[in-house]
């Protein structure tokens, strides 16, 4: 390692920033959609889910990258799965012991991180073939790219579906039809199909601004 590159070389920085924009796991690679639809009814679970995914993703990428030369290629998928699953169980146990209230909020979703295809995809596509530091950045970038979309969708759905943000009422009570006003929460927003439509709209906006993403084949 004579020509050691700096920790935050342009190449490494791209690993971090690309997944936020033009290589976003949800809007461009269209991975991890299922959990994005399920957890985004409210902002709070979206944020906690985003954080948990970032933690699991960074650690899994790092561990797999450290082990990459020893993993027998025939059972590499199983090895990755075991690593992800153990990390998720560990995260779950720690949450239950120290921040019980938050762990209750997340309930099933922590377990669902195991099935998140972004994590598996990044391990397979990146961590198995790269050094630990770039892998860590890649995990951080992709986790953040996923989390960012989750938070945006969660924000919109909570605002229009429940009239609250982070469980605080933002639409004045007097606006509601119930109290003689003109406003009604959009019940459709709290159902999963609307999350798909919201993600679709985000994809639309992103592609209309960045023509490179438009598939012309």
């Amino acid at each position: 390692m004579s020509d050691r590159e700096p920790l935050f070389s342009p190449k490494n920085l791209r690993l971090l920033t690309n997944p936020l924009g033009k290589d976003n796991p949800i809007t461009v690679q269209v991975l991890g959609i299922c959990s994005a639809l399920a957890v985004t009814v409210k902002l709070k679970p979206s944020v906690v889910m985003a954080l948990s995914v970032v933690v699991v993703m960074v650690t899994a990428n790092l561990v797999v990258s450290l082990l990459r030369k020893t993993v027998p290629s025939r059972i590499r998928i199983i090895v990755q799965l075991v690593i992800i699953a153990s990390l998720v169980i560990l995260v779950d146990q720690v949450l239950k012991a120290f921040v019980y209230d938050i762990s209750k909020q997340l309930s099933v979703f922590v377990g669902l991180i195991i099935t998140n295809c972004i994590i598996m995809g990044r391990l397979e596509a990146f961590a198995l073939a790269n050094k630990p530091w770039p892998s860590l950045l890649d995990g951080l970038g992709n986790g953040a790219g996923y989390g960012f979309i989750l938070i945006v969708v969660g924000f919109l759905r909570e605002l229009f579906g429940s009239g609250t943000i982070w469980d605080y009422q933002v639409i004045p009570d007097s606006w509601y039809v119930m109290n003689g006003g003109f406003y009604e929460n959009n019940g459709m927003m709290i159902l999963p199909p609307m999350a798909l439509i919201t993600v679709g709209i985000i994809i639309w906006i992103q592609r209309s601004r960045n023509k490179d993403l438009v598939d012309i084949s």
Binding site: P72, K96, A97, V108
Partner: protein, 241 residues
């Protein structure tokens, strides 16, 4: 070393499994006491919050001791009855409602907690357990000394969908139960129903369900009827006194 050989693969998998198993069991056993404590405190907190006590626990610096103190101060008596209203021996706090609700009515052990407010008035606190959409739901209902009018209710769930079924543990849903009644004017047990699309504010035996959470709402409805229904004989005896 040849990382592709069969022997290597087998040994690798074996070592991996042992390491992971050791790591996870270590984590599970070392964190178990903390988790159990959390569960116990949560149960006490639910019992207290059904009578409107300890609602500020989240702001306390040491939540666990705060709840323990309140529980000791406000829960003055606990006992167990059966469906015929006879008292049975045992510690009410340790009764597992999951097991009891699975038994036929006559064999159930039904815990009762008696709470005392700061002004001296007493409330009966009763546990409930039922099924939601994805898993169990449970809660506590507290009654006034007429053993009919609800003072407060508190619900919780294992895995209902956030924003939909999980809304049963929000204050907005729970507050609806205040003042509702379990018995009709002829003193027959009618429970409190969870209904859809009606203005329930002036109804004595109904509360408004959750949009998008119909199955969970129905679960709450069934849970109230089934769990509180087991106590009817005991309530009637108390009403006579």
């Amino acid at each position: 070393m040849n990382t592709q050989s069969n022997t290597y693969t087998f040994v690798y998998a074996a070592i991996m499994v042992v390491v992971v198993a050791a790591l996870l069991s270590l984590a599970a056993t070392s964190l178990k006491p903390l988790q159990d404590k959390n569960v116990e405190v949560e149960k006490k907190q639910s019992i207290l919050s059904s009578v409107g006590i300890g609602l500020d626990a989240a702001e306390q610096k040491n939540k666990n001791t705060y709840i323990e103190q309140l529980y000791k101060k406000h829960i003055i008596k606990t006992y167990i009855v059966n469906s015929k209203g006879e008292k049975i021996k045992g510690e009410a706090f340790k009764v597992d409602m999951k097991k009891e609700m699975a038994k036929p009515l006559e064999k159930r052990k039904l815990p009762v907690f008696v709470g005392q407010q700061s002004d001296g008035s007493k409330n009966l606190i009763l546990p409930m357990r039922g099924k939601g959409l994805w898993g169990p739901i449970w809660g506590y209902v507290s009654l006034q000394e007429d053993y009919n009018t609800i003072v407060g209710a508190n619900f919780d769930h294992k895995s209902e969908t956030p924003g939909l079924g999980a809304e049963i543990n929000t204050e907005r849903f729970e507050q609806q139960f205040v003042g509702k009644q379990l018995f009709d004017s002829n003193n027959n047990f009618v429970s409190v129903s969870v209904v859809k699309g009606q203005d329930t504010r002036n109804m004595v035996h109904a509360v408004d369900g959750i949009s998008g959470g119909t199955i969970t709402s129905n679960g709450v409805d069934a849970m109230l009827e089934e769990s509180l229904g087991s106590y009817v004989t005991h309530f009637k005896e108390l009403q006579k006194q």
